[in-house]
Structures are given as C-alpha cells and as structure tokens.
C-alpha cells in the first residue's frame, strides 16, 4: 500500500481541515484540497485493523438537510466551508435548498466531510470492488487508498463477488472519503443471482445492513418502471445499467411494478434515520451514442424528479445519476432537463462517453464529456477507466481514471470561475516560465510521472534548473528567448521614454503588403 506525502508536499491542518501544502523553490507555497486523509501524513499511524480515527457525530438532530433547513451550520458544514474556501452560510443554504448534499452516514465518522453541489468544486468518484471472477479484499482496500491519494472525492464499492459485506467493512473503516454502494448487488447475491427471486424484504434488510455499516450514499434504481421497459426494446444497446436490467427482469417476471418504487416511502424512512443520501440511479441510461437522450432515458428522469420530491419530504438528501454515452451536441440538454425535472438536485454523471469507438481509451472519450457536462452544472463525475467495457480496472487503471477525471473536474472549475480554481494553474505556469522544473512537477496532478517523463531524456540534475528542455534544445527555447525579449523591451522602454517613442512612429504607420493583383 502506498502511503506518505505526495512529492514536494506536506500535510497541513488549518483549523483542523487538512490540505496538501506544496512547497516551492522560490519560498512560496500553495495549499491544495486534499482527499488522501491520514495516509499522506507521516505523523499519522495507519492501522487497517483499527481503522481510521473517528470525528464526533450528532445523531439526534436528523439529517444535514433537516438541520440546514432549521438554519443550523453543522460541524460538517463548517469543515466544508474551510475546505472549499467559501462562507459556511453558502454551504448551509445550498444544502437546505437541496442543490447540494453532504453524504455523511452517522455510522461513518472516519470520513472527512465533503459536499456535492454545483456551487462547489466539481467532485470525482472512483468505483472499486471485486467481481465474481477477479480481485480480493486487500486489493480493494489498496485501490481505495490509491484512488484517494490521487484525488478521488468519494469511492463506490461495487463488489459483486465473494465477501461483499467484509470487503465493504474494511473499506468503510479505512476510507477518508464517503463511500457509496448499489445495495441491489448484494441483495441479488442473497438470492443466488436470480433477479426473479428478489423481494422487497431481502432488499430492505440489505439496505439496513449497509446503513448500519456506514455507507454514505446508495444508488437506488427506483425510477425504472414497468411502463418504461417497452421504450428500450428498439435500442442499439438495450439496458446497460446492472440495476436497471435486474429490476426490468424482476418486473417482467412478476408482471408488477418495481418494489423499489412502490416501497419508496419506507426506503426514505430508513435512509433518514442514518442520514444516508439517495443517489437515484439511471437504470435506463444510454449505453451507446445511438441511444442517447431517448424516450426511455428521459421517461425515467421524470420519475426520478417525482422521487426527489418524495425523498425531500422525508428529509433525505438526494442526488441524481446521469449518463452514460452522449454525443457532445446532446450533453447540455441532459443538464437542462435534469435540473428542471429534479428541482436542481445535484447531478452525478458517469462520463459521458462522447464516442463508442475507443475501448481501452474510454477514460479519454469520457473525460471530454465529463468536462463539458461539469461545465454545464454537473456536481460530481463518476470516473471511467481505460478498462471500461473490457475488464476490471487494476491499480494503474484506477490512477489513470482518477487523473483523467481530476483534469475534467478542474477544467470545469476554471470555466465556472470557482474561487481559487485557476491559482494552481497560474502558479504552475509561472514556475514553467521561470524554468523552476521541480515546482512545475510538484504542482502537477501527478508529480512522479511528470518528473519521470522529463528525466527520460534529461536525467542529469542540472537539467532541473536548465533554461530549456529536450523538446527544442537550448537554441530554440521560446521561453528563454521570451525572457530576452522582455529584458530588451524593458531596455527599449527606457530609451523610448528618453526619445519620445521615435522607434514606434514608423512602425504604427508601416504600409501593409499590397492587396492588389497577383
């Protein structure tokens, strides 16, 4: 398991809120939002058996939503305000309005509070979890620590294989970020994988079991209704959501409406007791460019809007899951409709992939869609790894997926003008222009790889302060020449001042090339 500080940085706590402080060679420093928890703090003792330290939890005043409505600024809200660099009142008001959620199960005090909402930094979720054919508990815990090291804001445990309960327990007790699940996966295991044998009771007991463990948010595909299924029959890729296809199979077999829909009130009462957040799943999300924005997808979205109202009346926090596969010209419409139908509940999208033709590169096909949909208002992005459609992600895939999505989220933060989003870019670009190579590496999303790439061609230590790199070599370095230009300009401006800008007179009036015959 990889622990210890990220290159060039140390962990600092400001009013108890952790930051990754990057120390620059010019004496300055930059503090960054840090999701890695104690694992990057050399002073913290890591004991997977004991789990992480726990923060105090108030259990008797309801959910963050209910307390925000009551005008309270909770300890979690104050922590989040520090982290995001915004006013605590903004945090409270956005939660009260239902435009932001704080996934914080009373039984998961190990996690550091964070917020998901369009007024705040765009967040990234990383999926982990074993399957029937691959992976172990130790691997999944390692992936969780690894994913949060590189910036995953939440983790979803999508385990479908052996030891689901135990895998989740290890992840929850050791995760510094909120953990989400899809309870129907474990419920299906309990009925030996036969969707037809599922019952509300089996599902309900599974949800309670996971609430007790401390799961912070749960994907519930309660928006897939029997009347929606015929809308999927002519699709190119049918139903690609596991939860959606499981519920469709159940409904057809029993000729009856989804037990998730008909028991939704009871489900709300359960989640409210623990302050578990709904992530209303899009069981009919498009699985291909051809199926994007179709009748099935938007019919379910309308139902999710109806359920959002129900959940909020129960005081339960809600976010809405989104596609999937969507071409660029159909992305904005997804956000517009989601905000309209779901009363601006935070949108949580998977990608979307902007083309189907690049398996093995879907972290890129989807980072394009993710950046665009986040700019349009999506609050959290579920990462896609290079293995999407091909296999279960390994350690490298998890990192590649997280980095690609941190890029998408940050690009959107800049485009949205989120406070301080661009400060990191400016600090890195200044370091680049001043040939402070080490600072350029350490301010980047992945200092290790940036340094390795540079050293492939110029490994020598002096190259770390050299005024060129292997791209152009010494003679051609535009930035070096640009420094000379700036110096020359300074010199000229002194001369111009003495001679009344004479040099400029002929230039301003310099004749343009003829536009005549040729």
């Amino acid at each position: 398991m990889t622990i210890g500080p990220i290159a060039g940085s140390t962990k600092v706590y400001r009013d108890g809120v952790p930051f990754r402080r990057v120390h620059l060679t010019n004496g300055e420093h930059v503090d960054l939002y840090d999701t890695s928890g104690p694992y990057t703090d050399p002073n913290a003792t890591i004991d997977l058996e004991a789990g992480l330290g726990r923060r105090p939890v108030v259990r008797d005043r309801g959910t963050q939503l209910q307390r925000a409505r009551a005008g309270e600024i909770t300890a979690e809200m104050a922590f989040i305000a520090q982290r995001e660099g915004v006013a605590p009142e903004l945090v409270r008001d956005e939660v009260a309005r239902g435009r932001a959620v704080i996934p914080a199960n009373h039984n998961h005090p190990e996690a550091e509070p964070m917020i998901i909402g369009k007024a705040f930094a765009v967040k990234v979720n990383a999926n982990i979890g074993n399957s029937a054919v691959s992976s172990s508990i130790a691997e999944e815990v390692d992936k969780m620590v690894w994913a949060t090291r590189w910036g995953a804001d939440t983790i979803m445990d999508l385990s479908t294989g052996r030891d689901i309960h135990m895998t989740r327990e290890w992840i929850l007790r050791n995760s510094p970020v909120p953990v989400g699940t899809v309870p129907i996966y474990q419920a299906l295991e309990k009925v030996n994988g036969d969707p037809v044998k599922l019952t509300w009771e089996v599902y309900r007991d599974t949800v309670i079991e996971q609430c007790e463990q401390g799961v912070d948010y749960m994907t519930v595909h309660a928006g897939v209704l029997l009347r929606h299924i015929p809308l999927t029959v002519d699709r190119v890729t049918g139903i690609v959501s596991r939860g959606g296809s499981i519920m469709a199979a159940w409904m057809l077999a029993h000729h009856t409406e989804s037990f998730l829909y008909t028991n939704f009130d009871d489900l709300c009462d359960i989640l409210a007791r623990y302050d578990v957040t709904f992530s209303l799943g899009d069981g009919l999300r498009p699985g291909s460019i051809a199926d994007a924005n179709d009748a099935a997808q938007f019919a379910e979205l309308a139902t999710l809007g109806e359920l959002t109202t129900v959940a909020r009346t129960h005081g339960v926090q809600v976010m809405i899951e989104g596609p999937g596969h969507v071409p660029m010209h159909k992305i904005a419409e997804n956000v517009r409709l989601q905000e309209e139908l779901c009363d601006e509940a935070p949108f949580y999208t998977l990608g979307p992939l902007t083309t189907d033709i690049a398996p093995a590169y879907d972290h890129i096909t989807s980072a394009i869609g993710a950046a665009m949909i986040a700019q349009a208002g999506t609050a959290m992005l579920c990462y896609v790894t290079p293995k999407e459609h091909l296999g279960l992600p390994n350690r490298k895939d998890v990192k590649d997926g997280v980095i690609a999505y941190k890029i998408a989220a940050h690009a959107a933060d800049i485009a949205k003008g989120h406070p301080n989003a661009q400060a990191r870019d400016d600090a890195l670009s200044k370091a680049r222009f001043e040939f402070r190579w080490e600072d350029q590496f350490n301010l980047s999303l992945d200092p290790d790889t940036a340094r390795d790439f540079h050293d492939e061609t110029l490994p020598a230590a002096p190259a770390k302060t050299a005024h060129f790199c292997s791209m152009c070599g010494p003679k051609f370095c535009s930035m070096r020449i640009s420094h000379d230009v700036q110096e020359a300009m300074a010199q000229k401006s002194r001369e111009f001042a003495e001679h009344g800008n004479r040099v400029y007179v002929p230039l301003v009036s310099s004749a343009p090339p003829s536009q005549g015959a040729g």
Copy 2:
C-alpha cells in the same frame, strides 16, 4: 518499422481510393477512412530508398484554389470526394471559397490527396522531428509511418537539430500524407541559431529549398508585428511560440518590422508556384490559461486576417493556426473571431489545453479542448502528446497523442453530424451488445490494446464469445439480462395482443408514492 494490416482489417481500393475494410464475424464489413498508405497493404512493396509511388501531377494550371475558382474539379478533388463520401462539387466549392484547403505541393506526388475544412471530417496532425538533444532520421521516419498507421492525416516535421534537410527528404519521399514544416527553424540553423542574424534572403532561400523538396504546407509567423510585442510583456508565460519568439527577438534587435510581413507578397509568389499552402502561425498564442484570449493574441489574429486576403489574391491556399492554452469558457470565442477576421479560412489549432496543471497528461487536457474547438468549427487539430512541456515524444507518446486526437476529432464529427461519422459507433455498439468481442476490438481505434486489456483478465478463447466479461462476471451482466428482457418483452407483446394489454392497465394507473408529510 511496423507495417502490415491493422488487426481484423484489409486494405481495399474503391475507384483507386484506399479504405481500411474491417471484416465482422457476422459477415458484414465496415470501410473506414485510412491514412496509413501502402504500409498496411501486404501487396505493396515498401522500399524507403526508392520512396512511395507517385501520382500524376498537373503543374501548369496553378493552385487547387485557382483551379477551383475556374470551376475545375481536379483529380485531387475527385479523390477527396470519394474519401469523404461527399459530392465533388462540394469539395471544389469549399476550396474556391477558401473555406477548405488541399495541401498538395506539386513536388510531393507520393502523398494521397486530403482536405482540411469545416465541411469535412476533422483532421489530425502529428508533429515529429528531431532536436539538438535527441532522435535520429530512422526514428523520425518510423514515427511518421507509426503516426499515419493510427490515423494522423498530416505530419509536421519540426526538426531543429542535425540533418534537417536529409531528415525531411526521407520523410517526404515516404509519407502517404501531406507534410508541413516551420521554415524558420532551418533558417535559424543556417545562421548558427542567432535570431539577430536572420535575413529575408536566408529565409526566402530556405522556403524555396523546402518548396522544391515537396513540403505541402508551411507555418509562417508573419502576423507577429513589432507593435504587438509590448502586449506580451505582462503575460504569465510571455511568448511560447518558437517562431514568434524568434521574430520578436529579431524585430527588437533591428528596431524594424518583421521581414516576414514586409516581404509577404514575394513569399506568396513563391508558394503559389508550387501550390504550397500557408499555415499562418500564431506566434503570440497563449502558453497558459492566464494568457488566453488576450490583446496580444487577438491583435495578431487581426493581422493574420489581413494576410489571408493578400495570400488569396495571389491564389495561395491559407489556413490559420490557433491556440494553445484556453479555458473551456473561452474556446468558442476563438473560433468566432477567427472565422470573422480571417474570412472563414480553415482553423488549425494546437489543442487547446483546458488546464495547465497536468503535465504528463496534456494529451488529455488538450483532447478536451480539441473536441470542443472542433465542434465549434476547427478543421484540423494538431495533436499534443503526454510529453508536451516535458520532453520529445517517443513511439508510445506519438501513438497516445494520435489516438487521443482521433477521439476528439471523431467526437466532433458526430456532434457536427458529418455523414457516416456515427456509423462506426453504431457498428461497434451493436457488436458490444451482441457479445461479438472480436468485432468490438477490430472496429475500435486501437484493436491491439483493446484486445490486450480484455485478455488481461479473461485470456481464454471462449471468453471471446462469452456473454459476459470480468467487470461484472456472468451473474451480473446487464447486457445478457437485457437480452432476456427483450425476449420476455417479445413474449409479453404476443400475450398482450391476445388479452388486450391487460397487464398494462394496472401499471399505467399505478399510484405514485405519497408526497405527504415525513
């Protein structure tokens, strides 16, 4: 050097126009635009010494622009129409209008004709070339073949080190795609790397030398004027274009206007003789998010518009180069202004990078910007590799850069509704839904990597037809369940027909959950 067919495909010629034909296991086939030339045709004999075969060239009727204006549909236009699946008249009319260019130096008959314009498929350029500190001729020729294998539509030879002329000769004689250069790099070598020693005569002779060799388009930084330089002084990253910084240094040293600007008419006469296309360089492009869309950048763009008019009066084809580093919310403005100021000359952009904080992942930060700017109307995208800002790209970096940009270009083609763009997506998604794994691999941008990733967890041959993968395992495969759902639906619909849809009656009227107190 890697030659031979790409997995699962063969080279076919339709009316002499090459395509990559992908053969599917269901007996169907899909023909794809193919830039790889004879290197993927097992029947072609590759002899680097002799160079590729040459097509006949008409030298006495002027440039493609002049011939299009005269109403002629040239052999190149007819070839291109076949390739793009559009009418020859559209090709001719877009070229005549100046909204598209066909970079085809009379002295480069080895290249297959292609077009760059917003009405056609978005193109991708790959930069190669050695530098003073790295790489050899053989390496660069190999990179050229490698880049076109994965879909590079043009190649730019940016060599700045030893043997510039010889490297270019080997690339030109063996490249199946147009080749671009930045002549000032070689001109600078001729004056021992001292910008101050540059002269119009040295530059002109270098341009003629490269025109004679067969370079198809040339980057000329004639838009950087002395009066623009003061606008760059307060930038975070100054002047990051090599050509721009070289000309700025020259102008300041000589206190006089750019010799590229004052001799532009003569330059046009030279390029017109060979039908070499101008790629008017953006010497003042922003090198950081902070400098995007600033006064220096747009002042130069206005001058490029002026030069576009001049070039066209000389019958020379023109495209305009664009940024650089631009945040998402400032991308569209670049295209709008470029089309307005440069009379819709094809836009050819480098990325843009949408954030500065991810060195080692700039193929991704820029693929996001590239997809968006292409959707907005950019005709060709200059790739960025993971090594950007860090070092010279190796073979793997070149492939990663090309694939990332083929994704961006294709995503834009779909968003723009380019004819047949989505057909490949639909064919691949259909294969995915029908568990035709081999077809899914072979229809992808990189069949080798897609297959390798799948086989990491399920290497056995039967897995290639298995109705699941390692992501979910057999029990959880949504697509398999979705097939059952479709079968069940078909069964139901037969029953419904017999019993008047009784099953549906209770569902449509099924009571929603209470929206009452909670």
